[in-house]
Point group: C2
Chain length 185, copies 2
DNA sequence: CTTGAAGTAGAACGATTGGTCTACTTCGAC
DNA sequence: GTCGAAGTAGACCAATCGTTCTACTTCAAG
């Protein structure tokens, strides 16, 4: 193995694909992915079996990273109530970034019309993970109805990501934060 | 002309494209569109100049229809406050429909990576129209800050559409309605 | 009856797609 | 030193993409 040079073609491919899928959509051609990753055509098919396998692997890894991002956002504050509100402060920064292009998972769902495409299982898993995270926080602060509140917070997050992608200048995360404060109580 | 048989190839094409673009995304092939519309290949290029022109025309017409849908949703109630809340009742029905697949305009934005594609101008126009509608209603009921409230309502609507597309069973419109009531005051 | 615009049907185009395959290189393990 | 797994480079394939084009039909206006 290459314990030193560390990143082999598999990782380079995952990185490049995650970048290009996000910035240009899942319809980017295999050629563009290979060029961006500086990887031979053959490596893609040996490691991932095909483009679909690469898409799935990218989503699986991205879901881990993104859930960790939410955990980090929560960890930035101490008070249970501030922890959840802090997520929207982080979202405000995220959405303001020039590179922001919306929610990776929803974009993926839209890109694959076939409901049996393996990508959908990954996006669903991410949403369950995020929802579980919200429920956990709400339970920790003894919220009266954690499930219902988590649904509302989730809706506010999704709305923020859409609004941020289509009119980022308006700081939708702040508008969402005010409503989140109501939800949390 | 054909004042009788009424719907010529142009209208059939618009109808078919609106249906297929929504259910399968803007990546549906020209062949599928022509077959669905029972229209000759040539007619598409004579009437719309190409697939891009068809996309633009579909969005322009859909925006009219959808804004009219929101107007109708508002008109279902009399009291200024109930008019806006009624929109979320209508959204609840819309989202529950088995055919519902999310917001046409956001899906279109994601489908075309090129920021100069004419489709983006149409989606932006629709959002401006919807926003203006919300502001108008809020002003009519003497809301303290119509612009800010419209932004929040818009965010709730977008969030509802995303949540409805990904987990329609949960009635996200009801969750959004509760928050909308807070926004309206 | 004729003419011409508008429609249909479908072959064909160049480009691009995802995927397969061959030939060559690299490099650590034995 | 040799061997084999893993990687690179790139030709190649069938399918599909949006688009152009020709040939035939339809039908109302003059």
């Amino acid at each position: 193995m290459h314990p030193r040079s560390s990143i082999g073609p598999r990782e380079r491919l995952l990185d490049a694909a995650q970048r290009l899928f996000y910035s240009q959509g899942a319809s980017v051609g295999v050629d563009a992915l290979l060029k961006e990753a500086n990887v031979a055509r053959r490596s893609l098919y040996e490691h991932f079996g095909g483009k679909d396998g690469l898409v799935e692997a990218v989503l699986r890894r991205a879901a881990e990273q993104d859930l960790a991002w939410y955990e980090a956002a929560l960890a930035a504050e101490a008070e249970p109530r501030d922890r959840l509100l802090g997520v929207f402060d982080c979202l405000d920064e995220l959405v303001a970034d020039a590179e922001f292009r919306g929610c990776r998972y929803f974009a993926t769902d839209l890109a694959f019309a076939d409901p049996d495409h393996p990508a959908h299982a990954q996006t669903a898993a991410f949403r369950r993970g995020l929802r579980a995270l919200l429920v956990r926080e709400l339970e920790a602060m003894d919220h009266a109805d954690p499930e219902a509140a988590a649904e509302q917070l989730h809706l506010l997050i999704e709305g923020t990501l859409v609004a941020g992608a289509t009119q980022g200048k308006e700081h939708p995360a702040r508008a969402a934060r005010d409503l989140a404060a109501v939800v949390i109580g």
